[in-house]
């Protein structure tokens, strides 16, 4: 097939996506894809089809013993070193914020183009991000929200932080939660967030200074859009490490 005088591989892309091509032809297609925007776009569309095909299958449930066997099997050296309980679970959330989203656009197309072939290899190439230094600060709840849980995941240098909350009351449409950073008694707004009906929400904090230059953090209820200074009930709070 040819477009604008170029030789394309549209006719082979379906078989390529379905991994039906012999190795030699698959290699040729891969080479062509690396330099052809037309075919990359078509490949991405076909790959999307392949990606969702499993969702069309009739769903069946494995027997309960599979889960039992799985949970028994994972008691390997890895699980033996784990710390069970709520505190560790929240600490584990730190990993969420170590991820780096892949580049969009062309990079995404290329990833799509290669992912089918590389998936298994990628799956086995464990990239341990757990060594990144993080601080996890548990915020104390107040009588206003005795069931609320708040955790701040903060870079070791205080250069970034994300607040994750759970079990905070769902606010009406005219209200939001506002995060305050306090330094020498002066409160600086660090952002607004809402929670879902289960009280779950998160916010990436913004601040003019490094987070570890503040003394403490607090969360209050404020009118939608925020207030210049806290006016509502305090729901969560904690001192910050320097």
């Amino acid at each position: 097939m040819s477009i604008q005088g170029e030789n394309h591989v549209f006719d082979l892309l379906t078989d390529y996506v379905l991994e039906l091509l012999p190795d030699a032809e698959a290699s040729q297609v891969s080479t062509h894809l690396a330099g052809c925007l037309f075919c990359q776009a078509e490949y991405a569309r076909l790959q999307q089809v392949a990606d969702v095909l499993p969702l069309a299958l009739s769903q069946a449930s494995p027997s309960p013993r599979v889960k039992s066997n799985l949970m028994a099997a994972i008691h390997s050296p890895k699980s033996q070193t784990s710390i069970s309980g709520e505190t560790m679970s929240w600490k584990n959330l730190a990993g969420i914020f170590r991820r780096r989203l892949p580049a969009l656009g062309m990079a995404l197309i290329m990833v799509l183009a290669l992912s089918n072939l590389l998936l298994w290899r990628q799956f086995n190439s464990f990239n341990d991000l757990a060594n990144t230094s993080m601080q996890v600060i548990t915020l104390a709840n107040t009588n206003e929200a005795p069931q609320a849980v708040g955790t701040l995941i903060m870079g070791q240098n205080g250069d970034y932080g994300t607040l994750v909350v759970d079990h905070l009351p769902l606010l009406d449409a005219e209200q939001q939660y506002q995060v305050w950073l306090i330094r020498d008694g002066q409160r600086t707004s660090s952002g607004l967030f809402s929670v879902n009906y289960e009280g779950y929400g998160s916010l990436e904090l913004s601040a003019p200074l490094l987070l570890n230059q503040y003394d403490s953090i607090g969360v209050t209820i404020e009118p939608r859009g925020g207030s210049p200074g806290p006016t509502g009930a305090k729901m969560l709070g904690s001192d910050l490490p320097h």
């Binding site: 078989d15 499993p54 890895k78 584990n92 991820r99 990628q122």
Partner: protein, 192 residues
């Protein structure tokens, strides 16, 4: 107060799993075991081996959860791909004993929600399934069959042609037309 895992996103669960949180794996399994098992069962047509693949896939998730990259697509896509490749590998080892020419595509149904708490991820997954099932239902039966044999069982054109007693060219055409039709429907629906 204990955390409620049911409303955590897939990515949060995977990060918790990467840090050896068994409760997260339990929730993740509850969320996706049916999908993984269904892919394996359609490839292998063998309950016992499909369950083996299911357990194996989630053990690998436990060991390698950090390797998930959102650039590879949704978690369901990632898991299904792993399950499919594992199942096809197993199928190819023993296919002579388990010839399978039946793919159980789910018929598009009324928009009922699954049992459970109907949290956001569950509703989203169910809606995507419903839409994909509707699209697949638009294909002629022979296209669905050929496509399913190629995709889920990893059979070549020649093998499919032999199993169906059809010319290779006919099989190729059916697969290509089926994929193109789904691609068009998918684009129209802006599903992904």
């Amino acid at each position: 107060m204990a955390m409620d895992y049911t409303h955590f996103t897939d990515e949060i669960l995977l990060n918790l799993i990467a840090s050896s949180d068994e409760n997260a794996l339990s929730e993740f399994y509850d969320r996706y075991s049916r999908l993984v098992y269904s892919v394996a069962l359609n490839t292998l047509s063998d309950i016992e081996r499909a369950e083996e693949v299911t357990q194996d896939v989630f053990e690998r998730v436990w060991e390698k959860a950090q390797s998930y990259n959102s650039g590879q697509g949704r978690v369901a896509t990632w898991l299904a791909s792993i399950a499919r490749h594992r199942s096809i590998d197993l199928y190819r080892q023993t296919r002579s004993r388990h010839e399978n020419m039946h793919i159980t595509w789910q018929e598009a149904e009324a928009n009922d929600l699954p049992d459970g708490q109907n949290v956001e991820w569950e509703v989203d997954l169910h809606q995507r399934q419903q839409r994909i099932r509707w699209m697949v239902a638009q294909l002629p039966a022979e296209q669905k069959l050929a496509l399913g044999m190629a995709f889920f069982q990893g059979l070549t054109h020649t093998e499919i042609a032999g199993a169906l007693n059809e010319p290779v060219g006919t099989v190729k055409t059916r697969i290509r037309l089926g994929m193109q039709k789904l691609r068009t429907l998918l684009q129209d629906e802006q599903l992904t």
